[in-house]
Amino acid sequence: MSVPRGAVHAKWIVGKVIGTKMQKTAKVRVTRLVLDPYLLKFFNKRKTYFAHDPLQQCVVGDIVLLKALPERRSKHVKHELAEIVFKVGKVIDPITGKPCAGTRFLENLSDSENLTEADTTYLSEKLQELKVCSTNS
């Protein structure tokens, strides 16, 4: 039977890589929230997808974004790797762009080491002015 382009229902999905033992293919586990009809609570339902990864750059544990291929590549592979969202062990915080691990940054965020003497004296003078203003008002 004729299959239309983009025959897969899921066009873009985000999942975690669970296996890379296949050549140029990553096994990705995708979880969706499904409502239990009696408890009326959402639970994660998992499904595995195979994604084409030509450069074999995925490691087990990466969070990846998959894009649906226009037609199936093989019997099971219907998606390809679009981008690696979070690389395991090298997570980059998208807001600041700095590497981080858990809830702390790996490198020092403040730029106080790059300030010169003139800058520090100027800044401390400005702080003094602010203190004077607050006492006057």
Binding site: K11, A82, F86, P94, I95, T96, T103
Partner: protein, 171 residues
């Protein structure tokens, strides 16, 4: 006997259907990164606890993924059909502010929703009778002021078929 859990009202259909964030059809995936401790992530935690069930109930085809304690700052990320990604910083925001913000940027507007509602109403005619799945009412006897259902109130003799045929045969 009360319901189990901390805020069991979250598990009622009335609460779930009260969610007013309906995403545009181009939104495919929503990812929420938040932390389990810390004051700055408080709004994000409340958002995940209270509002994510409402959003998922109204948008069953959007994949929602939650990540805990991966980055120091909490944020939301939307993946659209065009490949575009929308990053929303939710640090120091209450859960109400977060829902208002995403409703404004990626939610369907009230006019769109009303237009879709009108389109759906046009498909079925309210004046026809039939099975409850496709029509409003099943039989004329349901309406007040009409002849009641003969299953509950017997019809007067003049309306019954056997009387009508007997009268016709006599004449």
């Amino acid at each position: 006997m009360p319901m189990k859990g901390r805020f069991p009202v979250r598990r009622t259909l009335q609460y779930l259907s009260q969610g007013d964030v309906i995403f545009k059809s181009s939104v495919k995936v929503l990812t929420v990164n938040y932390n389990t401790a810390g004051e700055r992530s408080e709004g994000a935690r409340k958002f995940v606890f209270f509002n994510i069930p409402q959003i998922q109930y109204k948008n069953p085809w959007v994949q929602i993924m939650l990540f805990k304690n991966m980055t120091p700052s909490p944020f939301l990320r939307f993946y659209l059909d065009s490949g575009e990604q929308v990053l929303v910083d939710v640090e120091d925001k209450t859960n109400k502010e977060i829902t208002e913000h995403i409703k404004k940027i990626l939610g369907k507007s009230k006019e769109t929703l009303e237009r879709e509602e009108r389109e759906r109403k046009k498909l079925s005619h309210p004046g026809t009778f039939g099975p409850k799945k496709y029509h409003l009412r099943e039989c004329m006897c349901e309406i007040e002021g009409q002849v009641p259902c003969p299953a509950f109130v017997p019809l007067p003799k003049e309306m019954r078929g056997k009387h009508k045929t007997a009268a016709k045969n006599e004449a």
